[in-house]
Every structure is written in C-alpha cells, then in structure tokens.
Amino acid sequence: MPLLTVDNLSVTFTGDDKRPVRAVDGVSFGMDEGEVLGLVGESGCGKSVTSLALMGLLPSRGVEVGGRVHFDGIDVRSLPARRLRDMRGSQLAMIFQDPLSSLNPVVPIGRQVTETLRRHKGMRGKAARERAAELLDRVGIPDPARRLTEYPHQLSGGMRQRALIAMAVACAPRLLIADEPTTALDVTIQAQILDLLGELVRSEGTSLLMITHDLGVVAGLCDNINVLYAGRVIEASSRQQLFANPHHPYTAGLLGSVPRLDAPRGEALTPIRGSINDTIDWNDGCAFAPRCDHYTMECLTGTPELVPAGEGHQHRCVNPVNLDPGPADADRHGHVAEGDNVR
C-alpha cells in the first residue's frame, strides 16, 4: 500500500466578490514509503497550494478543497482538527521556502525546535534541549548548544534553512514535504541543503515530496517526477524517463530552456513562449495549447486525459513529442539523466 495517495485533489479560492480561481484542478498521485517525488512546475501552477492542502494548512475561509488524501490508509481530509494536529509535525512535516520569514523572529531557535519535541514526544527541560542540540548538529549547524539560544536574525540564510529542517525532522516524520526549500538561498548553499535533505531521507527512510520550479533540484534527488501545469499533472514518470524522453511539449520545453554549459557561445536560450497567464480552462481543451508549438484543433476539444505511455510513464497530451525517441533527442536530453545539476 502506498504511504500517500492523492486522488482528484482540487483547491478553489473563492474571494468575496471575485471570480473563483481554481488553483489545483484534479491532481492525483501516489507515494511509496521512502520514495522521493518531485512536483515540478512554474510559479502559479498550484504546487505550493497542493502541499498546503496535503498538510491541511489552507485557511478555512474562502477556500474550497475537494478530492481525497490518504496517508497511511487514513483519510486525512476527514480527520478532526485535533487528530490532524497530532499528525502534523510528527508523521507529516514541512519545510518552507523562505527560512527567515518562516521562523518566529522573537523566539530563540532552541525553543522553536523543542516546542515540537514537547508537543509530540513529551520531552521537556534538559532532555529536550539536548535532543535539540543533537538535531542541530545532525543538520550540520556548528556549535549547536550556542545556536539554541540565538534568534533567527543571528543566523545566516543557510543556517536558518538547516534549523527549519531540524524542526521538521525532529520527530522523525514518515513524510517530509519540502516547498522550494532552496529558492531563497544562493547556489552553493542550495547544493549543501539538497545534499543534506537527500542524506536525511535516505538514512531515515523518510518519504520526501520535493516541490520546486527548478529541474536542477529534482535531477539530483528525485526518484519520480510529476510535472504540473495550470493545476493538473501533465506528465508523470521516473526521473530517468522524464529527462531522457519527455512526452509533453511543456516538459520538453522546460528541459529545452535550461541553460547548458556545453552550448556554443552566444547561443540564445530557447524559452517557452507566452506565460502561464495565457492558459485556457481545462474544460475547453489543453490549458497549455495557447503556448504550444505542436497544438492542433484536436487539442481544443475536451480535457485531455492522463494516459499511460510506456512503463510508469503518463502524459496528458494528444500530440505528444518524443514517443519514439530518435537518436538526436536522446543525445539532447540524455546527459542530465544521472543526477547532474542542470544549471
């Protein structure tokens, strides 16, 4: 049985006098114990909202959530608030994007770690402080005993993100959700944080849901990847498959727009034209059609289904590319398959 099953999850924001906005539109995926899954897409595609919905952290006002989320066989969405709180922080934990704003500025780091231990493990006093110091040490913060008494503004950006990771893994959760954990950090620190996350989940057997817009991040870390566009999964496959053989024109476009060190000097990048604002409603066809180079009239009739194509590979496209990869395509994308940083 998979650890996490998300079935037809939808999230709609209903403002008081505004048109309802459907941020997540029928997302389904599953995760096994110990799996590292990447949820990739550009800003506004619904990836962060998906993660907040999984944690039950969306505000209750002005938000409608539909679909089912099962964690370890438990229907998370129908759990009473009290039971859900018991699970958050202990079984399900989350790391956020901006480590400075995600830490309480007026509470010492140590307190912010021990409050989780106290809540879920009943640890207090010296025992909790010692455990917190161990955790800071575990995530690579030097001189942990001193750092416990310091405040977030006294730590560097990388340190803060490490502290947030320490808080998230404090109670050895079974599923860790990381929402753009490296976006606010500079590149050298990004690599360190990714290494740390990878090492933590491998040694503890934790499942990791990695949410990012950065293909370089998923390339090194994830077993499987789901690509999101306009609130729907448009392609799902193993990492190797996806990088070697992307089916959806959007995925292919994303890979094609990554800058490459071995490209000839002065060669322009290949962007995907338009922006995510040029989306049509999924009911009117493929939401990506207005930006797609391969679209036909067929794309504008009805919602395309997520169809299997090859082993563990699914795509939502009526005119997929690379179904029969020629040698040129394999060469074009093949080299990133084994964990190179695509940057």
């Binding site: 952290l57 922080g89 202990s90 901006d98 309480n104 503004h153 947030l164």
Partner: protein, 334 residues
C-alpha cells in the same frame, strides 16, 4: 545597556533646554501678568509696579531667562506666585493623584484593549469585530471632557453608583506615605480606604482611558491580522502545536511589538487628557493646578510643571523602549 540608558538621559538635556526657551518666551507673549491677577482689581498702578519689581519682571527678559536657568541648574524652579510655596513641592504633592489616574486609565486601556483587539482580529468581520472598530472610532472622536461629564452625570448623579468627585469619600481617614492612595492604604492595611480610592478612580479612569483604549484596540487588531498571515505562524501550525501555543507564543508575542510602542507614546496624551478629566471630577492632580497657574500667569509654576512633565514623559518612554528590548531580540542593545 547602562551606556544606552545614560545616552538616552543625556539626550534629555538639549530637549529640555529647547523646551525651556520655547515655554519661557511663549508665556511672556500672553497678555496680562501676575500683577493683574494676584492683586485686587482696585490696586493702584504703584502697587502693581511694585509687585512686578519685586518679582523681577522688570528686568530685561534675557536676564530673567538667565536667572531662571541658573536656578534650574540647582534644580530649583522658584516659588509659585499663587501659593508662595516652592514649585517642586507643589508638584510632588499633586503628581501622585495624576499618576494614579493615568495608571488606572492605562490599565483599563491595556486590559480591555488588547483582548478586544485580539478577538476582533480572530473573528474578523463578525459582530464583535465591527462593534470594536466602530467603538474605537467613537472613543477617538468623543472629546474627553464631554465623555467625563456624561459619565459623571449618568453614573454618579443620576444612578448614584459611583462617587462624582474627589479622591476619597468625605471624612475618610488615611495615612499618607507616597501620596498614591491605593498603594498607601494597602501598605497600611486600611482596606476601606483602598476600596474608596478605587471607587473614586473608576469614572475618571474610564473617561481618561477612552483614547488609549481606542488606539490600543485598533493597533492590536491590525497587528494581529498582520501576524496571522505571517509565514512563521504557518510554520508553527505545520508543527502541529496546540492552538494556545500558536496564539500566545507565535501570534500575540509578535503582535504586541507595535502596541508596546503605542503605549509609550500614549502616556503623553494621558497627561494632557488628565488636565480636563481632573477638573471635571475635582481630582486635585497637576492638571487643575496647571490650569489655575495659566489663569493666574503663575510663570514659575507653569514652567516648572511643564518641564517636570516633559522629564517624566521622556523617562516613561525610555522605560517602554527598554521593555521593548525584552520582547524583540532584534533591537536588543549589546
């Protein structure tokens, strides 16, 4: 820390110097003088002139100011023209009443305003929220003297629930230690006096609290609304913490920061408002004395009282700023 306090206190000197220049020359621009108010109407011109001479008012004004500064250096504000007693003494006998009133008003404002603002923010858009917003608007708009008079008419004169004037009931016997009636009576164990003194504080305290209460309610509400949307509150929730911990440690602690600053600034308006409230309730603090002194052109008294108030205002603000560092580690003085 000590250096910071010293620096702040030293900053007081130029401020007070400027204030003294402003007040000294400004007061002299007021028409009339003590010779018109202290002497009976039928006093002769010679008598008036003799009084001006004896008070040193005929010296060039710059010389008078110099003499004032010289005495100030010895912490002597001169004698009140109305009572003939040292200004400092007049101040110390009256200030406890005003301080007691101001503290009562601030306690009411803090104890009601912070919970009210907090729950208004939590229940945004509810009846409680809209009443709190409307009520605080009303609190800012109603003039203090009008509110004081209305409270007095309704609750003291019509309903007779609370005393209408003075600090204690008639014929009450009490022992004076600090001049703070509530504190003194608790220290000496005269609890009947404590009850009476507290009863006499309710109406003037309520009247004086209207503006700080309104400001604190609104600031708390706005601040809590802002903090509720912060990432660290979401982080706290993602840890599965109990709602009480999230609300106190993560929401309230951060939301209180701007409110603390406001409390410091509001102490100034309390001292100003006390003048009006005290006169309505015949409370006998510094307010009514300043009013009298202005009427009588009692130059030394006005100058002395206003400068002492300025010093107290700055010291209170310094204390508030110091307490702020306890709440916000980012401004902690090293």
């Amino acid at each position: 820390m000590f250096r910071y306090i010293l620096k702040r206190l030293l900053q007081l000197i130029p401020a007070l110097f400027g204030l003294s220049i402003l007040l000294f020359f400004w007061l002299r621009l007021l028409p009339g003088g003590p010779e018109n108010t202290l002497l009976p109407d039928d006093a002769s011109a010679q008598q008036r002139e003799a009084l001006r001479e004896s008070l040193g008012l005929n010296e060039p004004i710059i010389v008078q100011y110099g003499l004032f500064l010289k005495r100030l250096g010895e912490f002597d504000f001169g004698n009140s023209l109305q009572t003939g007693r040292p200004v400092m003494e007049e101040f110390t006998t009256r200030f406890p009443a005003t301080a007691e009133l101001a503290i009562a008003a601030m306690l009411i404002a803090v104890c009601v305003g912070i919970p009210l603002g907090y729950f208004a923010a939590r229940k945004r858009g509810s009846f409680l929220d809209s009443s709190a917003v409307a009520g605080s608007l009303l609190g800012i708009c109603i003039p203090v003297f009008f509110l004081a008079a209305m409270l007095k008419v309704v609750f003291a004169e019509k309903l007779g629930w609370l005393p209408s004037a003075f600090r204690l009931g008639a014929g009450a016997r009490f022992t004076e230690i600090t001049g703070f009636r509530v504190l003194d009576s608790v220290l000496t164990g005269e609890f009947d006096v404590t009850v009476s003194a507290l009863g006499h504080l309710i109406l003037p305290g309520l009247a004086l609290s209207s503006i700080p209460l309104a400001v604190i309610t609104r600031m708390t509400r706005a601040s809590v609304l802002e903090v509720l949307g912060q990432d660290y509150v979401r982080t706290a929730e993602s840890k599965g913490l109990q709602p009480t911990v999230v609300r106190t440690r993560h929401v309230l602690r951060n939301a209180m920061l701007p409110v603390i600053t406001a409390i410091g600034l509001l102490t100034g308006s309390l001292l100003a408002g006390a003048v009006l409230t005290e006169s309505v309730f015949a409370f006998g603090g510094i307010g009514s004395f300043i009013y009298e002194s202005t009427q009588q052109r009692d130059y030394p008294a006005i100058l002395g009282f206003l400068m002492l108030i300025a010093i107290i205002y700055v010291v209170v603000n310094l204390l508030v700023d110091l307490s702020y560092t306890l709440f916000d580690p980012r401004v902690r003085v090293r």
